[in-house]
Symmetry: C2
Subunit: 408 residues, 2 copies
């Protein structure tokens, strides 16, 4: 399909979503009611809900993707290997993606749109708690795809039992993207040879240095934790400089968190110094109104504690300390005096995101269209005229043999 055809499909999907908004909301409400009855966790129910305005914001994001420059077939690098032999490194679709996601039905829409924009085939497996929402969204999307393309472009897998079989298809599926908690991602990584893109560790840290402006600290920490606690870019661990213990600023910050309904646990030092119940682990992703606080000696100890994470932020007015943190924390995203909630594909200008990757290979951080592409090295069209005339490539290959012999 041409770039224009794929853009047109995206615009049709955006229109179809808006036209079917009432239907979508009704199915989503049925899912929510059932989940509440079944006694699911509050954070899961919160992720399940398509909030007011969500459908139109999804449509808007799809229109942005439709207007984007075509991402495939772009020449990323052009090298003249020898006179007239021009090599082009071109972006190219990855192939077939398998996305396994929990709860959030809006993920289905974003991911399907990104897959269409990037020319990839897509298999979606949603959570059973969102089955009605997923089914209607999938129906709306596939109905906007022309018949000659076929519904198979975006497939929806209904049953959980199909996953193990799908994960065996390493000759057919090129990338698995699990969207969900630590446990889901780890399970999938352990049970497939297909490359997995995702964050198996979604811990975001905010470190408040002794040099912090505590008014900023309060605002950033509250935003990082309470704006959308179920998101993977919400703060899970708050690290505070030891000199802040028992200062008015830190005490106020803790009280503010508690007023907002946040349950606070302490690491081994914080639990005794600040009289907090002890956290079970620093690796626990609360995904709810809860967090861990730990006391550290200085910025070095904070960096050591974080080691590598998801999205990590330092709050300080000391430029040198900020630079040290920004350079040494080896995480997907590192911020200074900004909420961890900033780490987001839409915010980062990617149009939408398939998820946030903490992997060190391929894409890292919020993954948009770019993360769904691979490259091919193609000898460019420019080389043609030369080869037509004088068969230069192989001649040069042989002339150059001496220089090359060391690097076969």
């Amino acid at each position: 399909m041409s770039s224009q055809e794929r853009s047109k499909i995206l615009l049709n999907i955006a229109d179809a979503l808006e036209a079917s908004e009432k239907l979508i909301i009704a199915e989503n409400e049925a899912d929510i009611a059932e989940a509440q009855q079944a006694g699911y966790e509050k954070s899961l129910v919160s992720r399940l809900a398509l909030k007011p305005g969500k459908v139109s914001s999804l449509a808007k994001s799809i229109r942005i993707l439709a207007d984007m420059e075509e991402p495939t077939g772009q020449v990323l690098k052009r090298t003249e290997l020898s006179q007239g032999f021009i090599l082009e490194k071109m972006s190219s679709p990855l192939g077939v993606l398998l996305i396994i996601f929990e709860s959030r039905p809006d993920a289905l829409v974003q991911i399907a749109a990104l897959a269409i924009r990037s020319g990839n085939g897509l298999l979606l497996k949603g959570g059973k708690e969102a089955k009605r929402s997923n089914a209607i969204l999938h129906k709306v999307i596939t109905s906007a795809i022309p018949e000659n393309v076929g519904e198979g472009l975006v497939g929806l897998v209904a049953s959980r039992e199909d996953i193990p079989e799908l994960l065996k298809l390493d000759d057919v599926i090129d990338l698995v993207i699990p969207r969900g908690g630590n446990k889901l991602v780890s399970q999938i990584k352990a049970s497939t040879k297909i490359p997995v893109l995702g964050h198996s560790d979604g811990i975001c840290h905010v470190y408040v240095d002794k040099s912090a402006d505590m008014v900023k600290a309060k605002q950033i920490v509250l935003d990082s934790k309470t704006d959308y606690p179920a998101a993977c870019n919400a703060m899970e661990t708050l690290l505070v400089h030891t000199e802040l213990v028992n200062t008015g600023g830190l005490n106020e910050l803790i009280v503010e968190l508690q007023i907002k309904g946040v349950t606070i646990y302490g690491g081994s030092r914080a639990s005794s110094l600040l009289n907090l119940p002890e956290a079970s682990s620093f690796h626990h992703e609360y995904s709810s109104l809860a967090c861990t606080i730990e006391v550290v000696d200085d910025v070095y100890a904070a960096i050591d504690h974080i080691h590598h994470g998801h999205t990590d932020c330092i709050i300080t007015e000391d430029h040198d300390i900020a630079e040290m943190f920004l350079h040494q924390v080896d995480s997907a995203a590192v911020f200074h005096n900004a909420s961890t909630r900033f780490c987001d594909g839409f915010r980062f200008g990617l149009g939408a995101e398939v998820g946030i990757s903490t992997s060190r290979i391929h894409a890292r951080g919020p993954v948009g269209v770019e993360g769904l592409l691979t490259t091919r090295c193609v000898d460019g069209v420019e080389a043609w005229s030369c080869k037509q005339n004088q068969f230069c490539t192989v001649e040069l290959r042989r002339d150059d043999a001496m220089r090359l012999s060391g690097f076969a």
Copy 2:
């Protein structure tokens, strides 16, 4: 370490290699003699040998790497997320690499140089057939690394028994790069959770269309197969258009291959049409003076046969057929009227290569420094002055909340 310090180490290594050339060659010859006595395959012995001029060409390639622009800390993309909040996507070392390679001791040098250039830690595991060569090369390299950096920067693992233990260290090692045959790569992929970069399928195809200039065809096919048969970019399968069967051009090509010592097997059609012994499999990497020929109906059948490969070439004078092949063959590298041997990191202007990847994620094709890097998203220094003055980031975060709420 600064960029300059790492460049200096590379220059020292290049000097040390040249100064120790005699010693290196002597150890290499001892390895070769032992391998020949032990009755190793000819292709393995050929890969083991450091040919005349190899040490100085390695030194030259290291000097090119030393002069390269610093690859880490490069701003790959800069996005203004909101006024004054500028996000930088920066290149950053991957971490610790484990390279497992067979026979070729020159790989040790190239890979160590690339790791130093890209700021990565490195563990090397060479084949036991090259143990003397590897030991002396490793000694020469580490002796050029200043004491305060430590020999640990580039570690050499001697025993095969250590590999399973190393492959368990997915919290310490970030990427495994096996350099060797299909079997080695598949074994490693099956036995580790660490990402693996490599080519488990190294089949390179040359397709000769009916519209080919058979003089070019002969030169390109001979170069692709016989220039260095042990290399992974050597041709393994020759596909020929059905109309070429029993033409003078094809017969001459086959005879020329045989004169050069190439043993030719046939696919099911070619074996009967051209009276050739039948090939056991199209997935066999000969890595020696042998290849398979198969007859196909047209360019579509050739594309289907190749599906996705390593490096694939079409020989044709028909521009449209060439374009079709270049666009539809989904391989790491696709050439028109050029030898498959062109697919090489040095040729591609990468300075050197860790290997050629046929993976669809992360790096694809010849992997140089770029493939050994990841990225971090860092809020840029420019944001600082703004934040100093007016605490704009979090203010803007909240002002913007409405727009963002759909994309949490």
